[in-house]
């Protein structure tokens, strides 16, 4: 084993287990002519997709068996030893771009994407609307005004200070729950949209813009206190423990929609999906290192069955009809087209923003919001 083993194991979650039994069942009897195993490292939010027996069966038809480990997208780009994998499938373009350059890969695949969204509850959406943070887009869904939200955070506003708030009179600060920006891609995507606002409605492109933007957005992360490391965890808290712990949480739209489309009862009538304005698209981008992995990327992009399954898992694909049909059936206010979408900063800038915030964690000198306490 190489020296990279230790690093590779950092943050990697074993993902093949649940699927393993299924695979065995599917593969049994195939004998020596069984499918080719293609092993990849992916962002954790795509694990349910790859574990889905229908997805595994679809790959099987093409002679492939896809095994996946999970890791944070930032770790895939920096810490994971990719030599043991046939492909990397991070959840964002900046991370994929870094890997593509590092490995000298020419062709990458972006088979599906998901906008960043906010999962909340109807009474809280009402309170936020009253406070001017949430408004109707006029296109059938509600949006959360990121700039207004950041102003509120800068003032240290608490829930019980919001005018007319009787629905959620908590003493704690109005803060969106996120994962830890130092490890998790969903938090990095949230950083992308908040830094856009902090940088005067512009993508952070120059190193000189980083300190000010990072300083402005730091409280939205640090003031939350302890944050969890994987994107599933706070969303699960939201589903299970409700508004007491997680009144509003940053999620991938797909996380919420896959639950909604599955009609498994976990999305209750009180739950609401909002779209931040601006939002960022998490473009899941597969970077293949082998020919078979390239085939995996191609199938995900072109195979109608896999595309349909991706839509069932809440992802938006090149076939918008599949998604909009599912969305329409639920009757939920899901955005068909999002207009206020911004690009995330390039890999290096995003990394600089994160490390600047990381330093604030380390030295403890967070610029505290004025007022509030």
């Amino acid at each position: 084993m190489k020296r990279g083993v230790m690093r590779r194991s950092i943050g990697i979650a074993l993902a093949l287990l649940l699927g393993a039994a299924v695979v065995v069942a599917v593969v049994l009897g195939n004998g020596a002519g069984g499918p080719t195993v293609v092993r990849g490292v992916i962002g954790s939010e795509k694990k349910p997709f790859f574990d889905d027996p229908r997805v595994r069966a679809a790959f099987e038809k093409h002679g492939l068996r896809v095994e996946v480990d999970t890791a944070g997208s930032r770790q895939i780009a920096t810490e994971v030893d990719l030599d043991g994998y046939a492909f990397a499938f991070p959840s964002s373009v900046p991370a994929a771009e870094k890997i593509r350059k590092d490995r000298g890969v020419t062709r990458v695949f972006s088979p599906f994407y998901s906008p960043m969204a906010v999962a909340t509850f109807e009474p809280i959406a009402g309170v936020l609307a009253e406070a001017g943070l949430v408004r109707d887009s006029g296109r059938g869904y509600q949006v959360l005004d990121v700039a207004a939200y950041m102003e509120l955070v800068a003032k240290g506003t608490r829930w019980d200070e919001l005018p007319g708030n009787t629905a959620y009179p908590a003493r704690k600060r109005v803060l969106l729950t996120t994962t830890d920006v130092r490890t998790s891609n969903s938090a990095a995507m949230y950083l992308a949209m908040t830094s856009y606002v902090a940088n005067g409605e512009d993508v952070v492109t120059a190193a000189g813009q980083v300190p000010e933007a990072a300083g402005k957005v730091a409280p939205v992360f640090l003031d939350q206190g302890y944050s969890q490391s994987s994107t599933e965890a706070p969303f699960e808290d939201y589903l299970v423990m409700g508004s007491g712990k997680t009144p509003m949480v940053i999620v991938y739209e797909a996380q919420y929609l896959s639950r909604l489309f599955a009609r498994d009862g976990s999305i209750t009538p009180e739950m609401r999906l909002l779209y931040p304005a601006p939002t960022v698209l998490s473009k899941h981008t597969l970077v293949p290192f082998t020919e078979q992995a390239g085939e995996v990327g191609r199938l995900l992009t072109e195979d109608p069955e896999l595309r349909a399954l991706a839509a069932r898992h809440g992802f938006r694909t090149a076939d918008p009809a599949a998604f909009t049909d599912l969305a329409a059936k639920t009757g939920a206010p899901i955005a068909r087209d999002l207009v206020d979408v911004v690009e995330p900063p390039a890999y290096d800038r995003l990394e600089q923003l994160i490390t600047t915030i990381e330093r604030l964690y380390a030295d403890g000198s967070v610029p505290q919001a004025e007022g509030g306490s």
């Binding site: 230790m6 393993a20 003493r171 704690k172 206190g225 302890y226 699960e236 964690y361 403890g364």
Partner: protein, 535 residues
Amino acid sequence: MTAPPCGLLPATAAARPPGPVLRAVLAPVLALALVLGLAGCGPGEDVADDPDTLRILAGSEVKDLEPMLARSGVKVKISYTGTLDGAEQVAGGSADGEYDAVWFSSNRYLSLIDGASARLSTQTKIMVSPVLLGLSGAKARELGWQDGKATWKQIATAAREGKFTFGMANPASSNSGFSALVGVAAALSDAGEALDAAQVSAVTPELKEFFSAQRLTAGSSGWLADVYARQGGVDGIVNYESVLLGMKDLTLVYPGDGVITADYPLTLLASAPPEKRELYGKLTAWLRTPDTQREIMTTTHRRPVVPEVRPGPEFGSAPLLELPFPNRRAAADQLITAYLDEARVPAHALFVLDTSGSMRGDRIEALREALVMLTGADRSASGTFSRFRSRETVTMVPFSDGVGTPRTFKLPEGDPGPVLEQIKGYAEGLDANGGTAIYDGLRAAYSESLRADPEHYTSVVLMTDGENTDGASFEDFRRLYEMLPADIRPRAFVVLFGESDVAEMNKVAELTGGAVFDARDSSLAAAFKEIRGYQ
């Protein structure tokens, strides 16, 4: 449902050898006097590896789930340790290779330690339980909280006014104590965001008022619940909702200004090899099946973590407001320090020490070392928290043929350094000679305790390596003990060492409502450190 600390055994099992004894832990009725078998804890234990067995380092809080795991189809070997000790093992890397996974009631403190996150792989929450105040029904009615509604602020006001007393586990040794401390501090500071160092300083005077009502401390949430159930002595205890729901005649107070909730993440270590990852995946998948989740809920009173299983009516319907948890270690450590040095009722620890001839050589050296460790020589976080603290009183009562001269050290409010040096000097000067007058020593300590400041939390440690050879008998001690006023006589925590008379030592612990700690096959220093949680 109350889980005892690391290696805690029913007293009756103590005479048996340590290995098999550990299996007796789940005897349905726990004797009040309990033995801590330290040999079963920590990395020193020989955990034989086997590719089919998932080795888990766990907090004692999950002990009640161990029998259920047998049905998971995954072979599991669990070793128990204290929360903070376990966190240090993981963060320092000594758990790597020894264990495949860790399972504590929370990973939050662990995650704040530098380098710890890199040692953790997948974290899977198994169940949740908030830390609450449970009050006797009568007291809850008296305070007007019979509907379970009060805020930490109201609770603190009642505490300040002396309207009730409570027990709580030591925040430096138990996650339930630490969670409660974070919750109370966050609520009282009225900070809307996670506490930082400045806010901890600012809230300390209020914490002191709150903790003035604390009249019982413990090294573990399980022991705390057992002692309260058997002896009462306080109006209620702070503990996990799951523990409180399993107790009789308690009103659960759900603080309206927020709680801290344990989420029991079963966590794969990054160092685990592929075959262990597979076992981990199977076990967590099984634990999160709706059937297992329902079983956990109905048998252990913990709330489920999968949306498919909705919490039952026993948990009430009010949403629990979760308070923010610090995201920097400095703030967390400062909070524990503020509790120990300023907020808690200061301790008066009496040490009854065997300095008989049989202690000569390695044993007296081990005793010296164990005491020196408590003067600050152990520089780990858990060592720092378990050393003698500011405002504390320490009395040494050595005995051999008879009782030596008791020596009392008072640590000042400010810098404890000079007094710690004196204690260190005293410990290093201990010598071994003569007979073993255990009960003369114990009687002297209890007489001494009568002079203790009533504003201190007084407890006795008895450490002996053999049978009583001189002076008073156990019965003599019992007579003295029974003459003392019940509300002020301290508990005795007994350390088994060398050739201790296990049966009689158990009687001492049982009589006084203390516990027995077994240092026969492990270090005396580890036993003393563990006992500090109970002082």
